[in-house]
Symmetry: C2
Subunit: 655 residues, 2 copies
């Protein structure tokens, strides 16, 4: 029983502290930190409406009370009782059997499951022996006096109890039914409460001003992923911005001092799994702040808003430079819940006879690196190693050698045999282990690290799929990654530079002199916040000097500065030093709730193709509706466009 | 001095209770109701940043403290002191004169006004006699030890002290400077705090769930004012919805029970003064609620979030039927701050000899109505009456007769002379006055009321322009208007009906039988909230029965039900009875702050032509950016479009 399981969990896990039978609701139990007083007031959940109580709150302390409840018929047994459900929980209702209550009985016996009814009656004890200790309301039941059918459920599109087994596309098509599930009720309520706690922290505790910025804006230079919105002026378009970046900086120039917004952002990336065309970020900007200040603010914010049923966060979060993250974890968003770090073992092989290793070490950037797979001999199969080697060869054009510290389990990989005992002993000494498998690869530093970073995550998934407990599901491992490069070589034209993040990021103070001599070496004042290997936020100290901003835009990035003349002019009008950050709310809530996808923490998400499967958006609109916008549809005629179109219309499932 | 006046007011009016010199900040002083505890914690305004204090908070209790301040140079006098400004207020800084402080002196004397500096020093008493009681920090000054120029203000686009006299379009072009003004700082901070108080009321006190709904949606049937957003699928478009109406109802079907959202909404109305293409509403929906429940919720919400420096709101708000509003005030949004109500004086003229009045009374819907202009003989001129008569003739094709109760001031209007003494005496008796001017008109009920409703507001403006105090500027007069008609005849085709509000509005329970016989007579369960003559909110109990919804959509409104099949299906899956409301946040804050325009309560508003004058949005974009959206610009070729285009490009000022 999907709903029953769900709502019992909802009640037990969130509405009631473990081991107690109080009626403390979700909002209170999630509200850690008790912002403004020692005792947070419990919300009134039945104010302004016809019910006197919620189904889920009733317990022995309500015995004898006359109550009116509104809810959905969860199920009915033998026409003697039914279980009524609302967002707060389940309660058992006794269907009266005496002749005088025939009309009430008729209503309660004939209404289909998932119909909406209102019942009034008395809270009574269940007969001795019939209590249900697994049900939060299991000590009581309702002796009904009156009942009213508020709405009959006529056409469920399928058996609701099977809903959980349906595909995600069916869940999205009938989202209004999926929202009744424990999972969605829990995720959306937790999200609401966490955001409320964040607002209290920012607004009430630290004087931030909640300011709404426009979403109908102008195209950002280089903003290739911005949706366009035609205006009534021929050829002129608004853009839906990817973030309020320019506005938040202009607010600092305007002296607002501390800004935040739970901001809707837009990004048109076509079809990408686990991305949404519109998403939400906690957007923050402060004047007169440095990197440490922003980091402390965010640590306090997360600590304050963290769900109370999880372990409290320990601050400050650890910090790591980009260079260290790359060389140790092979990525700029390390999952620090587990080890398997990348180690440099070049020295072990200085005198190796193995040709490919020799060749690499003879090059200037050449290194030999490895990760160590704990109990790899126990959990991995020969086939896994072959898959790994194939992946490395295909994706990175690099060879991966498995090294088995116990020779009796080397699965006969030929190269591995060439590693002499002396080297094996040295590896055993370095890695302090004998039971593991070492994956070794040789090549240029960055590429080698990236490869091993990917293999590290792949192997972790493999080990866990085989039953090893590697990552504690209750662990939330936050990490700051700092000292990113300010610029990166353009992929399509490596002689030119582009911003590693965005062109408003300030250079690291120690590296400013390099801007004019070796800009590719300049580190930035950008910082990323990583949680369990996912980037959940990023920000920077911004450039507040117009001259420097102009130099970077015009000379280094070769951008058209006219597009940003308003910002450059603003910086010259007394812009304070400022910096900020944005947290990806959807991703953060997804990680906290352990949801399978960000779609499970959004009320009405789009499919990965950007469709609303419930209403069928986007959709065709009459040509006359386009006239006032001076646009017309240009049907694709060339083969590329036709192919794209056919892809978009292919009958593959959406999720 | 624009800024000085502004910030002194900011400090005095909002940061400090009248007559006191405490340092209570805006957030606290606005936070009425003290949501969660008896004592709201004062925000820390200098956490995480380099300053130790804000400029505006310093007072005698800080004497002797070493402080670091960051702010803008407001002005400087004789190179001996300067006034430093931040968002919190102004403070006087003494420029050191001794030789050892030459570098500090150089920085503080040479930096242009509006440059950003950081100073450290000691809070000292001003010399006796030099205190400034008008300045909240007027008892102290800062003896500077170190100073740093954080950013020089190089190119102010104009003398900042003249800024206040500039046109609104200049203010919008340099919005980042305008935001430094008292007016904008005050309005945006008040807005932020009021919304925070609303959230506390909804979320913490009444268990509402804050849920974000999509803005990339499907076109609503009849949604002619929706912006379209091309997708990457040829010919398919998203729409930016005018409100989350469908989503909020689907959330109720999904069992969320109590939803709210501070929702961004979009409406493309072309150029309309005091409207914005994107605007914000406090969007609310509840299950199992009736009209009274929603009204009580909103009354509590406004009471709770009302600025503390204003008189507390008295609830419940008065309520009036649409019919009464029309017949008494000639509008569905009466300004109830003053009288001048419309009165029916048909009976006085039953035996009149005046031909035009006789004719009207002989018709079935014919009435004679009047408004009474207090002290009209004193405040109005003959020319005013002539303007009024001309307006009535041109706009309503109706004649307005001025009646002077004192014959010696009848300004020789011929018809007025025809009113015999007996009638005048009866009018004096009815209206309990002699000094006033009566504006009398005769005709069909609705039209006559509408005309007099307009004249009532025109005359009120006139009287106030001439010096009469008619409407108390401190008065906030809320009013519920209820019992609207459910349908109205279509303007272009009066034989057909359209929804008076939207097609999901439930009919009045007493009128349901009329749906099938005389739908034009059905009243709805819609309610409007009116403040001082402006509609600031509207909502309704919704239809939760699929059959009824289908009948109204298909049979009465002749809409294509396929567009709403998802909603109809949802109603059949156990939709609870539900209702809600939306408050227009921009308008509400505008009325509370007394701002001249909603643009003054929005950080980055569009001009009335929908332009962002700072960044120049909307703008042309490269044709290749449109390719992936399969659209192309159709240049207007017919004369109508060309004319429209030229209008859009006319050199008229924007505001």
């Amino acid at each position: 029983m999907y709903f029953r399981r769900g709502l019992n969990l909802l009640y037990q896990g969130l509405f009631t502290p473990v081991g107690k039978t109080t009626t403390q609701p979700l909002c209170a139990s999630l509200g850690r930190g008790l912002v403004l007083s020692a005792q947070r007031r419990t919300p009134e959940l039945s104010s302004f409406v016809t019910r006197t109580n919620t189904c889920g709150e009733l317990c022995s302390s309500h015995l004898g009370q006359e109550v009116t409840l509104c809810g959905w018929i969860q199920y009915r047994r033998q026409n003697t009782f039914l279980v009524l459900r609302d967002f707060h929980g389940l309660v058992q209702v006794i269907i009266p059997q005496d002749e005088s209550a025939a009309s009430v009985r008729k209503i309660l016996c004939e209404a289909p499951v998932e119909s909406v009814v209102q019942v009034s009656g008395t809270v009574i004890s269940r007969p001795p022996g019939q209590e249900n200790p697994k049900m939060p309301t299991g000590e009581i039941e309702i002796k009904v006096k009156t009942a009213e059918l508020l709405n009959s459920c006529k056409k469920l599109p399928f058996e609701i109890k099977d809903f959980v087994k349906k595909t995600e596309s069916l869940r999205l098509q009938y989202r209004y039914l999926d929202l009744r599930s424990f999972r969605m009720q829990h995720n959306l309520r937790l999200r609401s409460q966490m955001v409320m706690n964040m607002r209290e922290y920012l607004c009430n505790l630290h004087g931030f001003v909640d300011i709404e910025t426009p979403t109908l804006f102008k195209k950002t230079p280089g903003g290739a992923k911005e949706f366009v919105v035609p205006s009534r002026e021929p050829g002129k378009f608004y853009s839906l911005p990817q973030s309020p970046q320019q506005f938040k900086q202009l607010l600092m120039v305007g002296g607002l001092d501390r800004y935040f917004q739970v901001a809707r952002c837009y990004r048109d990336e076509g079809s990408r799994p686990d991305r949404q065309p519109e998403f939400t970020q906690i957007d923050i900007e402060m004047s007169f702040v440095d990197q440490t200040g922003v980091q402390s603010l965010i640590e306090g914010l997360l600590q304050h808003s963290w769900p109370r049923d999880k372990d409290p966060l320990v601050v400050p979060f650890p910090s790591m430079t980009f260079a260290e993250a790359l060389s140790t974890y092979g990525t700029d968003k390390p999952d620090t819940r587990f080890g398997m770090k990348i180690i440099d073992i070049s020295d072990v092989f200085r005198n190796t006879k193995i040709g490919i290793l020799q060749d690499v070490l003879n090059k200037s950037q050449g290194t030999i690196k490895a990760i160590c797979i704990p109990e790899g001999t126990k959990y991995l199969k020969r086939k896994d190693i072959e898959t790994i080697r194939k992946f490395a060869a295909e994706q990175f054009n690099q060879e991966v050698l498995p090294v088995f510290l116990k020779t009796n389990s080397n699965w006969n990989f030929p190269v591995a045999k060439s590693i002499v005992e002396e080297q094996t002993l040295e590896l055993i000494r370095l890695l302090e282990t004998q039971e593991d498998v070492i994956l070794l690869t040789a090549g240029e530093h960055t590429k080698t690290c990236s490869l091993l970073g990917k293999l590290r995550l792949e192997c972790a998934d493999l080990l866990e799929a085989r039953g090893m407990v590697l990552r504690d599901p209750a662990l939330f491992s936050f990490l700051w990654v700092v000292d990113f490069p300010l610029f990166l070589p353009k992929e399509e034209s490596p002689g030119e530079l582009e911003s590693a993040h965005h062109p408003f990021t300030a250079p690291h103070p120690s590296d400013i002199h390099l801007l004019y001599t070796a800009p590719e070496k300049v580190r930035s004042q950008h910082y990323d916040l990583v949680l369990n290997g996912s980037e959940i936020g990023g920000g920077s100290i911004r450039i507040h000097n117009a001259e420097l901003q102009h130099y970077i835009l015009a000379t280094i990035l070769k951008e058209d500065v006219k597009m940003l003349s308003h910002l450059l002019q603003a910086l010259d009008c007394g812009a304070p030093p400022h910096g900020g950050i944005a947290l990806g709310l959807d991703r953060l809530i997804c990680l906290i709730t352990g949801a399978a996808s960000i779609r499970d923490v959004i009320a009405f998400p789009k499919s990965f193709r950007g469709h609303d499967l419930m209403s069928n958006a986007p959709d065709h609109i009459p040509a006359e509706d386009l006239k006032s916008y001076h646009i017309q549809v240009s049907r694709p005629t060339d083969s590329a466009a036709a192919k794209k179109d056919s892809l978009n219309h292919s009958p593959q499932p959406e999720c």
